[in-house]
């Protein structure tokens, strides 16, 4: 096996590992931001497309989750893109149980009272266990701004 072939193979292995390890984290983050399952799936998928496309410049020895989440946030905050996707429409393959749908609609409605930043802030800190400093950097806000967002999110959920 040539050196180039071996390197390419190593990247593919690292990429697949990133899929196994982080896919669900990326999807959940996208879902927290958008509160929309279909959009979240698209965003997560596209983040991995971007990762693969940048494979020659990515440092595969460092943790990739931060890269994926920042990319997802950037994609998610591109409002124009999200809107265009809505216009185009996207077929979905996932099916839910009736109970699952009803529970999700209730939870989604409650989470819908929060802004994207508030949802992402409370999911990342309360459910994903990320630190405030890490989350603030990831979301492009200050530590104070993040604490305020988490606080507002809790208040809104209490009133939901």
């Amino acid at each position: 096996m040539s050196t180039e072939t071996a390197a390419a193979s190593a990247v593919e292995v690292a990429y697949e590992r990133a899929y196994d390890e982080y896919w669900h984290n990326v999807f959940r983050f996208a879902l927290a931001w958008t509160n929309d399952r279909a959009a979240a799936e698209d965003l997560a998928q596209e983040s991995y497309v971007r990762l693969w496309r940048n494979r020659s410049t990515v440092d595969w020895d460092r943790p990739l989750l931060g890269w994926l989440l920042v990319t997802t946030r950037n994609l998610a905050t591109d409002r124009f893109r999200a809107i265009r996707r809505r216009i185009v429409g996207a077929p979905r393959s996932t099916t839910f149980t009736h109970e699952g749908v009803e529970r999700w609609l209730d939870v989604r409605a409650a989470m819908g009272r929060l802004s994207p930043l508030e949802r992402a802030a409370i999911v990342l800190t309360a459910l994903e266990g990320r630190s405030y400093a890490d989350t603030a950097e990831l979301l492009g806000t200050s530590a104070g701004g993040l604490r305020a967002a988490v606080s507002r999110a809790r208040d809104k959920l209490e009133g939901a």
Partner: protein
């Protein structure tokens, strides 16, 4: 201990996203196989699979992050031998291409008729990339165009394929566009330079001096709140709108977008309005508003800074979004006195810090622009210069002011007696005040 309502919702969210809501992984074999082959074809396959084939809008610039030592931006895969005629020291390097639209006029030294010529527009908000039409297929690009240097990046084509008379033109355009590495703007002409030649494009707007261009330039300078729309209630819940060369975009929750075509003489058409309902449910009256938007046929500026778009039986009035500014109707010759201090822009007020006191600033509507994203104020002085100022900046202001101590009129009384485009909100310092007539930073 009983869980709080918030904790219960979060626990449900956590469980549902791990179980019933969890989507399956996309097929990794398909993904990696597709991407390992021809990058263009591979990504196109994915884009088709993700049902987003016809649109490709680029990735926004990355921010500070932990993790890998590469920012999540597009690579520049062109690998060309350099431009054939790169402009040097071009005064147009600062031209902001965001949201602008262009149609090819000359390709490989051949003049093209406007009808059927390729066109594209750049994404709004300065993000890299854009999308357009080759004359046959839709395409997207993910590159960057900054500081006179350009890269179309990766091109994504819609899946239709091109055949017949349009095919050679599409191929020539894409081959040339793909290796662009420099650009310049001269008036309404954009020239792209690359190893395969030049592409000359014209701005997709009416010419300067036309009423339609004036309308477009006015609408592009600000965010607008929809103040009135025939038969539509609840407009205060509709997001402000921004206009670009070919598009409009409602910014914020429950956003919306549409295609815009500015025509000569102030004519205007809006089409393909769509709503982003994620996270906000169904906005009240959106169908009615969509119908009004898609019915307007012309627009004109009105006294007081509003813009009226009209069509058959419909009117839609747009007012600038002024943010925290207190705004008054246009004033003449208000630059006779001077004051100086530090500009303060809060979420709700704009005032001057002067010798420890706060002076409310009143801004004339016709010469003031509020940039909500940058939180800056741009002011057009009577001498033709402009000044853009931000919070914390020392400024020298021309104009004239007053105070209750001088006039004997209480602050509440003078506020009530003024004609406002946008009055100061409760809690802003009202006394003394200064009508801004000139700004120097």
């Amino acid at each position: 201990m009983e869980r709080s309502r918030a904790d219960k919702i979060l626990a449900d969210w956590d469980e549902l996203t791990r179980t019933v809501l969890r989507p399956g992984l996309p097929t990794r074999t398909t993904l990696t196989t597709a991407l390992s082959g021809s990058m263009l074809a591979g990504v196109a396959v994915l884009i088709i699979a993700f049902a987003a084939a016809s649109v490709w809008l680029g990735l926004s610039r990355g921010t500070g992050m932990t993790g890998p030592s590469v920012s999540p931006t597009e690579p520049s895969p062109t690998g060309t031998d350099g431009p054939t005629a790169s402009p040097s020291g071009s005064p147009t390097e600062d031209f902001d291409l965001a949201g602008t639209a262009w149609r090819v006029t000359t390709l490989d030294d051949q003049a093209l008729p406007a009808e059927g010529a390729p066109w594209f527009d750049f994404d709004s908000f300065g993000r890299p990339g854009g999308h357009g039409f080759t004359g046959c297929d839709e395409f997207g690009f993910g590159g960057t165009f900054e500081g006179g240097k350009g890269s179309a990046g990766e091109l994504i084509l819609s899946p239709a394929g091109c055949s017949g008379p349009a095919a050679p033109l599409e191929k020539l355009f894409l081959d040339t566009f793909r290796v662009v590495d420099a650009w310049s703007v001269d008036g309404d002409q954009l020239t792209l330079f690359g190893s395969k030649g030049q592409i000359v494009l014209a701005r997709e707007l009416p010419p300067v001096g036309d009423a339609g261009r004036a309308l477009a330039d006015t609408l592009r300078t600000a965010e607008w709140q929809i103040l009135e729309a025939t038969g539509v209630a609840g407009l205060d819940r509709v997001s402000p709108v921004q206009f670009f060369d070919r598009r409009l975009l409602g910014v914020g929750a429950c956003g919306y977008s549409g295609d815009v075509q500015f025509g000569s003489g102030g004519s205007l058409t809006i089409s393909d309005v769509g709503w982003d309902t994620s996270g906000c449910g169904e906005p009240d009256g959106r169908s009615a508003l969509q119908a009004v938007l898609e019915s307007v046929a012309a627009g004109r500026s009105e006294e007081g800074g509003t813009v009226r778009l009209s069509g058959s039986g419909v009117d839609l009035v747009l007012g600038r979004v002024w943010g925290p500014l207190a705004v008054i109707p246009p004033q003449d010759g208000a630059d006779t006195a001077r004051t100086e201090g530090t500009l303060r822009i809060t979420d709700t007020c704009v005032f001057l810090e002067e010798r420890g006191g706060a002076v409310l600033l009143l801004w004339p509507a016709d010469r003031t622009t509020w940039d909500a994203e940058q939180r800056t104020i741009t002011f057009a002085n009577f001498d033709g210069t402009t000044a853009t100022v931000a919070d914390g900046q020392p400024v020298v202001l021309g104009g004239g002011g007053g105070s209750s101590a001088e006039s004997g009129v209480t602050s509440g009384a003078w506020v009530a007696g003024m004609t406002w485009v946008a009055p100061p909100v409760d809690g802003c310092p009202l006394d003394p005040y200064w009508g801004v007539g000139d700004v120097r930073d």
